[in-house]
Amino acid sequence: MEKGEISIWFFIGVSLLVNGVLICGAGIYEYIHPPLEKLVLFDKHAGIWWGAILLLTGLLYCIRFVPRWTAGK
């Protein structure tokens, strides 16, 4: 087996996916355990939906540009 080339778009997908999971997770945690000092527009829970958008975009990129494994010469 020979490793296929990894596209830059796959790296971007991984980055968005991991960030999306972390941000969405942190947003959900804050929703369940609200902080005492709230930020402006805290009630919009931006972390949850922005994290979800990043997560889905990253997932799409990862699936579309996943490295292919090809038979060796």
């Binding site: 830059i8 991991v18 960030n19 972390l22 969405c24 804050e30 527009l41 931006a46």
Partner: protein, 560 residues
């Protein structure tokens, strides 16, 4: 003394930032095996697609000064700061794509000084290479300083810690993977910058009640001229920037931006790495398409800060005296206003990514120019390809170290933006005059190219020194007693370009021109532009350039 910080990072924020550093280093290590030849290390194998080259072209420019400085300028001067993104960028990017790129690409040059060598001779190449290398390390140092400053303000990190951790990371991934690694990371950084910064205008506009309400808030706190692009530019005194439309259109749009986007090797290098001519032409057009919307994440946060923040921001000097916040802190202040755990980490990552993409751009361009245009041209002409790659790797490390030293030197600079604008005016405007005459006028001779560039640069430095020594001299440079410092850069660029062109034309007319045979592939009229082949209209650069022009005109009319 306890350090005051705007925000405190949570564990998830630190994980996000650490993951970013791990990923950029992983890309560098992954690509290290693909940077063994000079063509690979310095030109990324000339195999980038239009999208990768175009996003990298834009990302290399999204450095510290873009994110922090222009958000601060938007707070200070209002929507006028958008001119640096629209009239001060879009026409130049399209000019590069449609007019200049064919000559760069067909000549197969590895750098802008390399083109000058082919067109005008060795002396012009050395002059531009040395001035570019000097400007680049200073720019890189400014980037580092700005990054360290924001990390100190936002997170309370010591300046030296930020400078060393980011610069060493850049040194590792560029030294390992060369230009390809820099470009790949710039594309990644482009996405992270948008992902981390776009939430501020979305939430800010929601809080303000939309653009119409924001204009009312800004008019109330500042004046109506802060929300108009062109209507206040009739005279120097009718707008917050103290400049008029002549300075913006001719100084910024026709000279300074043309010089930056078409001859600054930092950005042009990304396009030269494109896989074919059509990609090389499409890349700046793709960059222009995205550039038009960068004000969303840079200018709009500054305007939102002006309309929504409870405190009043001031210049750096006043902020130090009063203990308040300066204009340059508006972006982190807006970040701290809306972003909780996770989002804050991504926002900080966006800032770091911006700083690192700019730094990597400077370092990779410096490496190429030093190795090919100074070391190979003046010091060792007979090295092997492997030797020059090795020199390139070491130059990357040395370039970073010189930048770090520069960062420490510029820590005492009063204003980051003014400093860099002055640098642009010194070198960029005359260089544009020399390159564009070289490409479009076959009569321009080698000695003329050198003397035009030299005297244009000298005139620019002289004007700057004159106004620096006697601030009242600005009335002569900008042709108005009401001009403010921002106008100086525009008019200085305009005059240095004019002097460069006059000298080049005059010297050309009294010196021997090069034979046509030596100018093939370098000059308009003597260069056969390869056919684009059988492609649909929507695949042609000219079609997308037209689309960009329509959107560009519409945006300027909407915000007139």
């Amino acid at each position: 003394m306890e350090t005051i910080r705007l925000v405190h990072l949570s564990a998830v924020d630190i994980v996000i930032i650490a993951f970013y550093f791990a990923l950029v280093l992983a890309i560098g290590f992954y690509l290290r095996g693909r940077a063994n030849t000079g063509e690979d290390f310095f030109m990324a194998g000339r195999e980038m697609t239009a999208w990768v080259a175009g996003l990298s072209f834009l990302s290399a420019n999204l450095g510290a000064l873009e994110l922090m400085g222009w958000a601060g300028s938007a707070y200070q001067y209002g929507i006028l700061a958008t001119h640096w993104y629209w009239v001060g960028a879009i026409p130049a990017m399209l000019f590069l794509a449609l007019v200049m790129m064919p000559f760069y690409y067909i000549s197969r040059t590895h750098s802008v000084p390399g083109y000058l060598k082919l067109r005008f001779g060795e002396s012009s190449r050395v002059l531009s290479a040395v001035s570019f290398a000097f400007m680049t390390v200073l720019m890189s140092g400014v980037n580092m300083f700005a990054m360290a400053k924001v990390m100190q303000i936002v997170l309370g990190w010591p300046l030296s810690f930020s400078i060393w951790i980011s610069s060493l990371t850049v040194a590792v991934y560029v030294a390992l993977g060369g230009l390809r690694s820099a470009i790949f990371n710039e594309v990644l950084q482009f996405f992270l910058i948008w992902a981390g910064a776009l939430l501020i205008p979305i939430l800010g506009l929601y809080e303000a009640g939309g653009w119409a309400n924001l204009k009312v808030l800004i008019t109330h706190r500042a004046s109506a001229e802060y929300v108009h692009l062109w209507s206040g530019l009739g005279s120097f005194s009718s707008n917050p920037m103290g400049i008029n439309w002549v300075g913006i259109v001719f100084g910024l749009g026709a000279i300074l931006s043309m010089g930056y986007w078409t001859t600054d090797f930092l950005v042009v290098q990304r396009i030269l790495a494109a896989k074919d001519m059509r990609s090389a032409q499409l890349a700046p057009i793709i960059g222009a398409g995205f550039k038009m919307f960068v004000p969303l994440i840079v200018i709009l946060p500054g305007l939102l800060g002006l309309g929504l923040l409870p405190m009043t921001l001031t210049g750096e000097a006043d902020a130090l005296v009063t203990g308040g916040h300066s204009y340059n802190e508006v972006l982190p202040l807006m970040l701290a206003r809306y972003c909780g755990p996770g989002l804050l980490g991504l926002g900080v990552t966006a800032l770091i990514a911006g700083f690192m993409s700019g730094m990597a751009g400077n370092v990779s361009a410096f490496t190429t120019v030093w190795t090919y245009d100074i070391y190979r041209a003046l010091i060792n002409k007979k090295g092997t390809d492997a030797h020059y790659v090795s020199v390139g790797r070491w130059t990357t490390v040395m370039g970073v170290l010189i930048s770090v030293l520069t960062a420490y030197l510029v820590m005492r600079a009063a204003s980051i933006m003014d400093y860099v604008q002055a640098l642009f005016s010194f070198f960029i405007a005359p260089l544009f005059g020399t390159v564009v005459l070289g490409m479009l006028w076959k009569r321009a001779t080698g000695p003329a190219g050198f003397w035009g560039l030299f005297l244009g640069t000298l005139s620019s430095i002289s004007m700057w020194a004159w106004v620096h020594a006697d601030p009242t001299a600005l009335r002569y440079v900008a042709l108005s007693s009401e001009a403010k410092p921002m106008a100086q850069d525009m008019f200085q660029a305009l005059w240095s370009f004019v002097i460069c062109v006059i000298v080049t034309v005059a010297v050309s007319l009294v010196t021997q021109p090069k034979p046509d045979a030596e100018l093939q592939g370098l000059v308009y009229g003597l260069t056969t532009i390869p056919s684009e082949g059988e492609v649909a209209f929507y695949q042609k650069p000219i079609f997308w350039a037209g689309v960009v022009v329509v959107v560009f005109v519409a945006l300027n009319l909407i915000f007139w």
